[in-house]
Symmetry: C2
DNA sequence: CTGTGTGCAAACACTTTGCAGGTGT
DNA sequence: ACACCTGCAAAGTGTTTGCACACAG
């Protein structure tokens, strides 16, 4: 049984060829993938609509999460353990490289930020842009 | 001469009724506006296409900047002095309220974040979500 | 007067929905 | 066997483009 197949069952999802293909793409690439990336790398036998539906399903089951860059381009990335359902943590840090264009999750803490009185914080999302290790 | 008219001239833009109307919307509301917000509050005499083009122009001239929330919804907000052309600064903090849905710019500093070796940082964008002062 | 802005229509890209048939368990 | 996935076609939504006319400077 392949890793992607196992993951699907863990999340109570039927293991179909399409889902396995998309999931193993995420496992193979380490950075966030856009819908376009997925279509480009996926066997073209799969319908665009299936990709949309699969991503939505994965999103609902907490297998992946949305990653947005400064231009509003939407990508998706695998959720880490820390990110998954029960003890969901509420800080996300993403790094987008100006050279290779790849966006990936960073496992770092966001220091406390001083806000004016009266603001309640429930979630923080930090997007850092620059040049990644590979491209330096 | 109205404030919005002056601002347009400062940015070398012709002062037309449509531009003034949109710009004064930004001056009146203090939070970020989506395209939809603008259409809703603008005199309906203005064409949707004009709004698109006007926003793009304002963006290019540095009158407004993009504001994105966690869902990828795009809004626009006036640039502060600090944000404008010459000594552009490279940190942005936005706060989105879960109750009223409004997003606004905060003038706070982002503390340094520790990154792994080899990463070069050029810009940081922090989105904080929670409940704003008005809604507490 | 000249170059730029605007409105309208149409093109375009992206995403969702309905339905019939196929597939995993 | 049944519920759920998938592909296809079509509808829906948001954004851009081409062109003729209007307007600011």
């Amino acid at each position: 049984m392949t890793p992607s197949c196992e993951m699907l069952k863990e999340h109570d999802l039927r293991s179909t060829p399409g889902r396995q293909a998309i999931l193993s793409l995420f496992l193979r690439k380490k950075h966030a993938l856009s819908h376009g990336d997925i279509e480009r790398w996926l066997d073209p036998q799969y319908d665009r609509v299936t990709v949309y539906r699969t991503l939505r399903t994965f999103l609902k089951r907490g297998i992946i999460h949305k990653v947005l860059d400064d231009e509003g381009d939407l990508k998706y990335a695998l959720c880490s353990e820390a990110c998954s359902s029960s003890h969901h943590h509420h800080d996300h840090v993403h790094f987008k490289c100006r050279k290779c264009g790849e966006t990936s999750c960073l496992e770092v803490e966001i220091p406390a930020v001083k806000l004016p009185r009266g603001y309640l914080v429930s979630e923080r999302n930090l997007l850092i842009q620059g040049v990644c290790r590979k491209c330096t």
